[in-house]
Amino acid sequence: MKQFLQIALGILSAIGGFVDIGDLVFNTQAGATFGFQLLWVVVVGVVGIIVYSEMCGRVAAISKRPVFDLVRERAGFGAGLGTLIASEVVNLMTCAAEVGGVAIVLQLLSGLPYRFLIGLGVVGIVVVSWVLPFEWLERLFGYVGLCLLVFAVAAVKVGPSWGQVAHGFVPGMHTGSHLVFLYFVVGLLGAALTPYEVYFYSSGAVEDAWGREDLRINKITSVIGYGLGAFLSFSLMILAAVLFLPRGINPQFLGTPALGAQDALGKIGLLLALVGILFAVGGAAIETSFSGAYNLAQFFGWQWGKRERPGGAPRFALTWIVIFALALAIVMTGYDPVKLTEYSVIFSVVALPLTFLPILLVANDPAYMGDSRNGRASNVLGVLYFVLILAISISAIPLLLLTNGGQG
C-alpha cells in the first residue's frame, strides 16, 4: 500500500505529460488520422522519458539537487537564463491551456458560463494547491486522474482488430501524407519528452525527500507512472482509430475524446471520462505552475518547496500564484486552449536540449553520483535519446508550418 501511494509522483508527472489538454486532443487526432500506425511512436517516447526521469530522480535522490539547479551550473548563466525564459513561457502557456481545459470540462459537466468557470477553476486549484501537502496533491490528481482508464475500457469495447493494433507497434507508415505523418511523429515524441515533466519529477523527488534508499522506488515510479501515461495514449489512439477515422472526424475539441467514451460505454463512460480529464488537466495545471516556480527559485537560489510553509518560501509561493493569475488573464481572452499548447512548442524547442543535456552529464558524473552514476545501458539510451531530442527541436517548427498544423 505504501509503495502504491509512493508512485503517485510518477503518475501525476506522466498524466500531465501524456494526457494533458493538448495531448488528449493530439492523441485522438493521431488515431483519427492514421489509425493504429502511430502506436510505436508512443513506445519510443515513453522509453525516452522513463530513461531521463529515472536519471533525474536518481540525481535528486543522491545529490539532492533538482534539474534546474544543474541547468544553471552546467549550461552557464547565459544559456541557463535562455532555458529559464523559454521554459517559463512554456509553463505559462501550458498552464493557461490547462486552466482553459478545466473550465471547458466543468462547462461540459455543469452547463454554466465558460468565463465564470475559468475563475472558479483557478480559485479552486489555487486553494487546493495552497491547502494540501505535496504528497496529497500527487495522490488526489494522480489517482482520480486514473478515471481516464475508462478510455482503455472503451477502446476494448469498440472491438478493434487486435492484429492491426499489434501491427501499429511496428515502425512504418502505410497510408497518408508523409509530412503530416512526420508532424504527428514529432508531436507525439515532443509530448512525451516535455521539459516540465522532468522539472516537476525531479523537484517532486526532492519534495518527497528521496534518498539512496528510494532508488528502487524511483525506478518503479518512472516505469509505472510513465507506462500508465503511454497506456492511456494507446487507448485514446485506438478508440479514435475505430470510432472517428471511418467517419472522417478530425477531433478538435476537448469534448471529442469524451464523446468516444460515451459512444462506447454510455453515460457512465462519459462521466468517468470527464472526471478523469478534469483531474488530469487540473493536475497538469498544478504541475506547470509549480514547475515554473521551481525553475525560477532554483535558478536564483531562493528557498523553494511545497513542504516549506508559504512564509518559509514566500517567493516560491508568490511565483506559482502569479503564474496562475497570468494563466487566468490569458485564457480569459477567449483564445482556444487547445491551440495555446501548439504555440508552446516553439519555446519547447529552446528548452528541450538544455533541459536534458545537464541531466545526462550529471547522472554520469562520479563526483556527484559516486557509485550510483549511469551504467552503460543508461548512457547509450541517454545519448540516443538526446540525439532524438535535438532532431525534434530542429524539425518541430518547420513541420508545424509545412503541414499547416497537421491539416495537410
Partner: protein
C-alpha cells in the same frame, strides 16, 4: 490561421473558447503584434489584387469541406447517443454548441465561394450549422435528436461526395 483571421480573432465568445481554426502561419507564430499587422495588411493587399474571384483556393475549399464533413459526422455521433439516452443533456447542449460555433465559422468562410460547388458546399455548411444549433437546444427530445442524427448523417455524406469531386 490566415493572417486576416489574426485580427478578427480578438473578438470574444461568451459561451466558450473560440472554435479551433486552421493552424497558425509563420508570420503569426514568429512575429509579435507589429509583425501580425504587417502580415494582415499584406494579406489584404493580396486579396484585393485577386479582385474577389476565387477567394477560396481549391485546396482551401477542399479543407473546408473536410472540416464541415467532420463536424457533421461528429454531430451525427452526438445526436445518435443523445437519441438513445446515452448522453447527458448538458454534454449534448454544450458540445453541440462547440461544434455549431465551428460550423458557423466555416459557413462564413464558404460564403465567399464563387463556384457552383463552392456555393453548394456553403449551403450544406449552413444546413449543418442549423442542425447543430437545433441539437444544442434539443434537451431530452429524443425524436428530434433522431431526426437531426439522420439529417446530419445525410449532410456528412453529401459533403464527403462533394469534397471528393472538388
Amino acid at each position: 490561421m490566415p493572417p486576416l483571421q489574426v485580427l478578427v480573432s480578438v473578438t470574444f465568445v461568451e459561451e466558450g473558447p473560440r472554435p479551433p481554426t486552421e493552424a497558425p502561419t509563420a508570420a503569426m507564430l514568429i512575429a509579435g503584434r507589429p509583425g501580425r499587422l504587417a502580415a494582415a495588411l499584406a494579406a489584404v493587399l493580396l486579396l484585393a489584387g485577386c479582385g474577389g474571384q476565387g477567394m477560396l483556393s481549391k485546396k482551401a475549399l477542399s479543407q473546408e469541406a473536410k472540416g464541415v464533413q467532420s463536424l457533421a459526422s461528429e454531430g451525427t455521433l452526438l445526436a445518435d447517443d443523445a437519441a438513445r439516452g446515452r448522453s447527458t443533456s448538458t454534454f449534448t447542449r454544450i458540445h453541440a454548441r462547440f461544434l455549431e460555433q465551428a460550423a458557423r465559422s466555416s459557413r462564413a468562410k464558404l460564403a465567399r465561394g464563387q463556384t457552383p460547388k463552392g456555393r453548394r458546399l456553403a449551403q450544406l455548411a449552413a444546413r449543418v450549422n442549423s442542425d447543430l444549433e437545433r441539437l444544442s437546444r434539443s434537451g431530452s427530445d429524443h425524436a428530434t435528436q433522431r431526426r437531426l442524427q439522420q439529417d446530419l448523417a445525410q449532410a456528412a455524406d453529401a459533403i464527403s461526395k462533394l469534397g471528393k469531386s472538388l
